[in-house]
């Protein structure tokens, strides 16, 4: 069957059940409720003064009923410094557990060492918002028997609510925790900030293990994870590499190309009617995206515009803008650098939020719905404004859906910043390899060679043209790019599906097919 973008989607996948094709970005929300039923959270009881402490991570896993076919979940707040996920999978493999479904909120290059366990049948399925490095390559080459599912941050919460992801064991690393499992990422030697993606795991997993390298006296405050959801607590020597957990102060790029794109994007934003008193704003940590914040910050000061809230993945740059009084508050589902942790801990206007409040469409209103402006990156953009942030030019899985489609769907003005080509690889092209975010939710694509406005927004195009900005049709830009790079050959794929790209409402927006071996 074909979905609303005309992409062929299988009706059924063995071991995963029936699939629903993507119908349109807001199609499933209009009813006011979700068709699927929600599963109840687990039913638990604890005797007074019973100890939750375990000697080792292995002890905790042994107590948590490890079994074949189980689903194990993790959060990715430790980014590329994570030392817990790999350790836990090794233990499960040593215990001879097979057929595990790995449900980590995202996967980074720190998780490359689990590749052997994908090959030997320990792990047979993956649900994640992002996959990179060796794992992404191997998955595209067909290492797993079942397709991986790429969901958005908001979509993951829905997947847990509906039981599409049924977590048997959640192993949640924290930079500080107490003996009852109250846990935070906002202080301690390995502080990483918000634990926003871990909350849903703690509420719904059958067994919850908190792992920390910093056991503090009871009670651990502020508790991001609360004791009434936690079964076991483990103190380990290290939860990971702090230098990689805290990726350091987020610096504005010096790349002239990124700066040029960012400057144009900022001009487009300022010329739009979304840049106004009280606007809300989200911007990523990547090169050009963060640089947009630099120019917006300057313009806010110059034009004396004050914003309402900053959302999302939060950088120290956001914290600076909060401290300068440019924004009223920050809602933080994930912190990108070390400096953010102390702000989260000490500033009442810097508020940690769980992923459901951040981006799940199926509740009484997530915060992405309140966004005025979001700036996002892209691996590829096509002439229908569809964006790929998951597969690279060689077909490997090497990116993250993250909050891309969530914020694009919610924001009044969604701006995608990307070069029109990288090296000799076209970025703006006729058709993307994989659609993650549908074009109907993208308003503007800003490249170094001009600004393309979605034809759905003629009034926006007019505003940008009146501001003297270099607006051009996206087809014209794609042709210009093709003239420079030449026509790129399509990635050769087998029929076999190795990945499903789930839209935030649970429908399937695209599939990832196995890359043909040369």
């Amino acid at each position: 069957m074909k979905n609303a973008l005309g992409i062929e989607i299988p009706e059924y996948i063995e071991g995963m059940g029936a699939l629903e094709p993507y119908k349109g970005a807001w199609e499933k929300l209009q009813k006011g409720w979700m068709d699927e039923t929600t599963v109840p959270p687990p039913n638990k009881a604890k005797m007074p003064h019973a100890s939750k402490m375990c000697e080792t991570l292995k002890d905790a896993i042994l107590k948590a009923d490890p079994h074949d076919g189980m689903t194990v979940s993790f959060h990715h707040h430790l980014r590329s410094g994570d030392g817990i996920l790999v350790e836990a999978i090794k233990i499960l493999a040593e215990l001879g557990i097979k057929d595990i479904t790995l449900a980590s909120s995202s996967l980074t290059s720190a998780h490359d060492p689990i590749l052997p366990y994908l090959k030997d049948g320990t792990i047979t399925g993956i649900w994640s918002s992002g996959i990179r490095g060796e794992l992404g390559k191997a998955i595209a080459e067909g290492v797993l028997p079942k397709p991986v599912v790429i969901h958005s941050h908001g979509g993951r919460v829905r997947d847990v609510h509906t039981g599409r992801i049924r977590i048997d064991l959640a192993i949640l690393a924290a930079s500080a925790a107490d003996c009852e499992g109250n846990a935070t990422g906002s202080h301690g030697p390995s502080a990483f900030g918000s634990m926003g993606y871990a909350a849903i795991d703690s509420w719904y997993a059958k067994q919850v293990v908190v792992v920390t390298d910093n056991l503090v006296d009871y009670p651990c405050v502020p508790p991001s994870i609360r004791q009434n959801y936690v079964d076991y607590v483990v103190k380990v020597d290290s939860i990971g590499d702090p230098t990689k957990i805290a990726s350091g102060t987020t610096r504005i790029t010096k790349s002239p190309m990124d700066l040029q794109i960012a400057r144009l994007a900022a001009k487009a934003i300022i010329a739009s009617d979304s840049f106004k008193q009280g606007f809300s704003f989200q911007v990523g940590a990547g090169g050009a995206s963060l640089a947009v914040a630099k120019f917006i910050r300057e313009a806010m000061k110059e034009k004396e515009v004050k914003g309402s809230f900053l959302l999302g993945g939060v950088t120290s740059y956001c914290v600076d803008m909060l401290n300068e009084g440019l924004f009223n508050s920050i809602f933080d589902v994930q912190s990108f650098d070390a400096a953010v942790s102390s702000s989260l801990l000490n500033n009442a206007y810097h508020i940690e939020i769980p992923a459901g409040l951040y981006a799940n469409p199926f509740n009484c209103g997530c915060m992405t719905n309140k966004l005025d402006i979001v700036v996002l990156g892209a691996l590829e953009v096509d002439t229908d404004f569809n964006v790929n942030v998951i597969t690279g030019s060689e077909g490997a899985v090497r990116g993250a859906s993250g909050g891309h489609s969530d914020t694009a769907s919610g924001a009044n003005l969604t701006v995608v910043v990307c070069p029109s080509f990288r090296g000799r690889i076209p970025i703006v092209k006729k058709q993307v390899h994989t659609v993650v975010t549908p074009g109907e939710t993208i308003d503007v694509v800003v490249t170094e060679r001009g600004i393309c406005v979605n034809p759905r927004r003629p009034e926006l195009r007019k505003s940008l043209e009146e501001a003297g900005l270099p607006v051009k049709d996206i087809e014209v830009l794609a042709e210009e790019v093709e003239k420079i790079t030449g026509k790129s050959k399509d990635i050769e794929c087998e029929d076999r599906i190795v990945g499903l790209v789930e839209y935030r409402d649970g429908t399937i927006i695209d599939v990832i097919r196995q890359v043909k071996q040369l």
């Binding site: 010096k254 700066l259 040029q260 170094e448 003239k483 420079i484």
Partner: protein, 300 residues
Amino acid sequence: MGNMSQHERKFKRRSMLYIPGNNPGMLQQGAVYGADGVLLDLEDAVALNQKDAARILVRHMLQNLDYSGCEVTVRINHLDTPFGRKDLEEMVPLQPDALRLPKVETVESLQETLKIIEQIEDEHGLPHDQMKVHAMIETALGVQNVYEIAGCSPRIDAISIGGQDLAADMQLVKSNDGIGIDYARKQIVMAAKARRIDVFDTVYVDVDDEEGLRDVTEYIKKLGFTGKAVINPRQVEIVNSVFTPTEAEIRKAVRVYKAFERNKKEGIGVFAVDGKMVDAPVVQRAIRVLEMADIELDTL
């Protein structure tokens, strides 16, 4: 061509971005940074063992790449080097908007180069009046001869000061304040103004010092320079913004020009705008501001 106004010319000339001729990535992207012109460099930015590669690459780029919206100038090697002659032979037939000649010191040597250019153009059946020539003044002798150099051919469309080489030639100690080349800057500007041609300032080498670049650009704008060469794309926006009139300046210029048009009909040559006397030179300056702001006079 002397005495050409901004309007008659195809391009503004606030910023000219140097691009090393042997760097394909930068050559490919040169036009996207908002610079009014690109300076494809075969000379100092290219190592001796890369000269051939740079010449071949720039040749291909000129033949295949669209620099539309950007004035394209190629800086060739001096004819005293083993590369200069070959550079001319390869570049002249491609007729970029202009050639930039380094270390021009005397009218005689310049005339000799211009003659070779014409010979090559003749061999290819090309006219002599299309491609312009920019003379770089980079030595004390060049500074002393600049008025003659600037006027020796209608082909000389602009002159520029090369600060680094000049400082070396003058045996100046390194300093950031530009005092040592200040006299030369003023002398070169005066020669250009007397000959009614454009004049470009030298590069600012500390690419991370944005404030320093802004200060020096504001200074050379006051001296009368048309624009400034830059060595990093990040410098373009700063130079452009200094040379772009502010909103207040534009509004003032509009008032002056409109008052001038009104009074002209009544035969009045001197009048007042905002309580200040306006006469012909003030009107000329207002027209210049409007040109820099891309405002067509007949639309006012």
